[in-house]
């Protein structure tokens, strides 16, 4: 099994989720994160003192998937999350050794 971690722009969440559901991904875990990358932050002024907010709000999506879905999932995310502007984010792929559904005790691909 594979573990996909994608960092995306927050307002793309709905598009990505819908696209993933269509290709059969059943579960997803989402975290609010702050991203630091090529896309620069913005400057704020508070009572006369300037400061830079370096980090941008992003969302991290994590999904466990079967091995044979890997390519399709990556492509789907790329397509749905794409705006072409800097800061679109990344997709990372890991090897997932085991998986267990707490409710039923199922393991492996059954548990995805």
């Amino acid at each position: 099994m594979k573990w996909i971690t994608a960092v995306i722009k927050p307002f793309k969440l709905d598009d990505v989720r819908t696209a993933l559901m269509e290709i059969g991904v059943q579960g997803l875990t989402v975290t609010e994160v702050k991203g630091f990358g090529r896309q620069k932050g913005h400057t704020e002024v508070y009572r006369g003192a300037e400061y830079v907010v370096d980090f941008r709000p992003k969302l991290k999506l994590e999904a466990a998937i079967a091995d044979d879905q890997e390519d399709k999932v990556i492509q789907t995310i790329q397509k749905a999350a794409h705006t072409g502007k800097i800061g679109d984010g990344k997709v990372f792929v890991f090897d997932l050794e085991k998986c267990l559904r707490i409710r039923t005790g199922e393991t492996g691909q059954e548990a995805l």
Partner: protein, 419 residues
């Protein structure tokens, strides 16, 4: 006798000042209500807008508005133009007594009136929230509070032609509330809805406000301030009849709001299956707006019913405007405009002096004039400085774009599941 006239003068002046103070407090109410009903990324901007507009309104009305509305003019349609506010009454004039003797301080009257114009302007800021440029709004505030509001105010309260036609509007359901809502409507039609509010196939996406306790606090503040708004509009408290009238106005104002809450909550419950707090809050305000045109004549029971009808209307109005894709984040057009009209008509239920014609003409003239005048100003602003922030700024939020500040910087915001 002279001292008695002085004490009586002092009492009426004090009553005016306390009433004005309560209406001033409504500025805080609008601010809290609106900042609770927008998203956190647009909160600083709405706070800035509200405290700014109140200030602009006070200054403009002092400079020119008050004199337009209450100054001399040879026409009953076109008011006169002069600047600043005159002096106060002399002791001699007051203690002369008699019908024409002044019975309260002119400056206290100015103070009471100036907070009304701020109210009218506050109504607009909620409707255009989350997308209008801040400084454009401020420029409009100059035009509205210095000219548009005072001109139509002259027609009735300044003893112009609407007053002559018998248009009855005790504390301003039309002159203040509907006028504000009308200018808001003109703005919203030009501005368009917030990005993401309406989907492609008739879909309506809710955009929940970020802070319900603030919205509720704002409603309570408005409710409290309204006792000054309506209670002060009797313009006198110092004899038995006036005192009784003021007491009646207080009781009716309170009960109309109560009726509005109950009706709003029940209507929402029947329509949506839930006790939608925001409809209860809008119901309270609707009840208040509804009674404002005539809080002195109905019985308490009738006042409650007038408020309840207002609280029912407002729910349907909000849902309807949404279907028409008129995007009003706080429901200002429904609360102050649609229900304002209801309030003006409800005067007929208990006030024998009011006529249907008088009320309808009043509604038509105020609506027509304010709509056209505002639209022209908005259009000029649209062409010159622009009225709407660009898409990316809107997405990022007005706060960073316009104010460089976040409302709640530590509560990271931008929740996962929201638009």
């Amino acid at each position: 006798m002279e001292m008695l006239l002085e004490v009586s003068y002092a009492l009426d002046t004090f009553y005016f000042l306390m009433s004005g103070l309560l209406v001033m407090w409504m500025a805080a109410g609008f601010t809290m209500l609106e900042s609770g009903l927008v998203r956190s990324k647009n909160t600083v901007e709405i706070l800035t807008k509200n405290i700014g507009l109140y200030s602009i309104a006070c200054i403009m009305y002092m400079l020119v508005g008050y004199n337009i509305m209450y100054g001399d003019s040879s026409s009953s349609i076109i008011p006169g133009l002069s600047f600043l506010v005159g002096g106060d009454n002399s002791v001699a004039d007051v203690v002369a007594g008699g019908e024409d003797a002044p019975y309260y301080s002119n400056i206290s009257d100015f103070f009471f009136q100036v907070v009304f114009v701020a109210t009218a302007m506050s109504i607009i800021s909620g409707a255009v929230a989350e997308r209008m440029k801040l400084w454009t709004f401020f420029i409009f505030a100059v035009a509205m509070t210095g000219f548009i509001y005072p001109i139509q105010g002259y027609w009735s309260w300044g003893e112009g032609f609407l007053d002559e036609l018998g248009y009855m509007d005790y504390a301003g359901s039309g002159i203040v509330h509907m006028a504000g809502a009308t200018a808001a409507l003109a703005a919203v039609l030009l501005l368009g809805p917030r990005k993401g509010k309406y989907g492609p196939d008739g879909q309506i996406n809710p955009i929940p406000g970020a802070n319900m306790p603030l919205a509720t606090l704002g409603t309570f503040i408005l409710w409290m301030g309204w006792f000054g708004f309506n209670g002060g509009s009797e313009l006198k408290v110092s004899d038995v009849e006036s005192a009784n009238a003021v007491a009646m106005v207080f009781a009716n104002t309170n009960l109309a709001a109560a009726g509005g809450v109950v009706a709003g909550l029940i209507t929402a419950r029947l329509l949506f299956g839930k006790a939608d707090l925001t409809m209860g809050l809008n119901g309270a305000l609707a009840g208040l707006v509804a009674i404002t045109a005539g809080p002195d004549t109905p019985s308490m029971l009738l006042a409650t019913i007038i408020g309840a009808v207002g609280g029912t209307i407002v729910v349907f109005s909000i849902v309807t405007l949404d279907k028409l894709r008129i995007d009003d984040p706080v429901g200002a057009i429904s609360v102050h405009g649609v229900v304002g009209i209801w309030g003006l008509l409800a005067v007929l239920l208990s006030n024998g002096d009011a006529t249907l014609t008088g009320q309808l003409v009043g509604i038509a003239c105020i609506f027509g004039f304010v709509f056209v005048a505002s639209l022209i100003v908005w259009l000029i602003l649209k062409v010159t400085m622009g009225i709407r922030v660009d898409e990316e700024m809107e997405y990022q939020g007005m706060d960073l774009a316009e104010c460089g500040l976040e409302a709640y910087p530590e509560f990271s915001g931008s929740a996962v599941t929201r638009k």
